[in-house]
Amino acid sequence: MSVDLIVFLVLALVSVAAALGMLLSQNAVYSALFLVLNFVTVAVFYLLLGAPFIAMTQITVYAGAIMVLFLFVIMLLGGGRLPPRNVLPWQRPLAFTLAAVLVVESIYVILSRAGMAGLITSPAENVNSMEYLRLMALKLFGSYLLPFEVTSVLLLVAMVGAIVLTKEERKGRQS
């Protein structure tokens, strides 16, 4: 067993355990913290796959900005623990049935397609870091310039949208 494989297996174990912790913990704050752990492990996978830029973006944007926003909203609303209320009695069994079907299907697909794809060599060793950044920047600001600009407009729209959504309520309360 090579070192790469051992690192991969340990990280995969931590990643799946963190995801399950997110799914199963009753307190939403714990869920958010488990999700941060999962994001960090995925960032390490990106490093293993030779994508350091994406790994750093993952940590700053996902584990940093997005999850802080989540924690802020959870604590603002006090929604850490919601009392279980059964408004739709048929929802729970249906959800578990659908979930079981999905699990069986995905296990079948993973097992039936095993061994069809290639091997990942360590590309981190082939390209040095400055060359990697140069190539990445050439791609991002070259052939993907238009999507990049559209993304910036999208972020602006999202920001204005979030402000407008929360401002309208304040006006409604005053009148």
Binding site: V16, L35, L49, V61, P84, F96, Y144, P147, L154, G161
Partner: protein, 100 residues
């Protein structure tokens, strides 16, 4: 040397856990986190394939997905805060109408 299969299987497992979260949990914040988990699983598959085919396009797509996820979270959380202000309640089963 890690087979690409392992990464795809891990990505699928994370995606399924995210879908289970959307189906089973009733707290909208946790449903939101599960959606983030699914996006993350898809990103992992993107980067794994990009690494096998030695192209940067996969990584650039992941960059865009992260930016779109940030926008989505900002708007979605603003909506959840608004719904909570209007109804004092964010149980997902009771939110069946768009009217405030």
């Amino acid at each position: 040397m890690i087979p690409l299969d392992y990464y795809i299987a891990l990505s699928a497992v994370l995606f399924v856990i995210g879908t289970l979260g959307v189906l089973i949990r009733r707290n909208p914040l946790i449903i939101f986190m599960s959606i983030e988990l699914m996006l993350n699983a898809a990103n992992l598959a993107f980067v794994a394939f990009a690494s096998v085919y030695e192209t940067f396009s996969g990584q650039i797509f992941v960059f865009f997905v992260i930016a779109v996820a940030a926008a989505e979270v900002a708007v979605g959380l603003a909506l959840i805060v608004e719904i909570f202000k209007a109804r004092r309640n964010i149980n997902i089963d009771e939110l069946s109408s768009l009217k405030g």
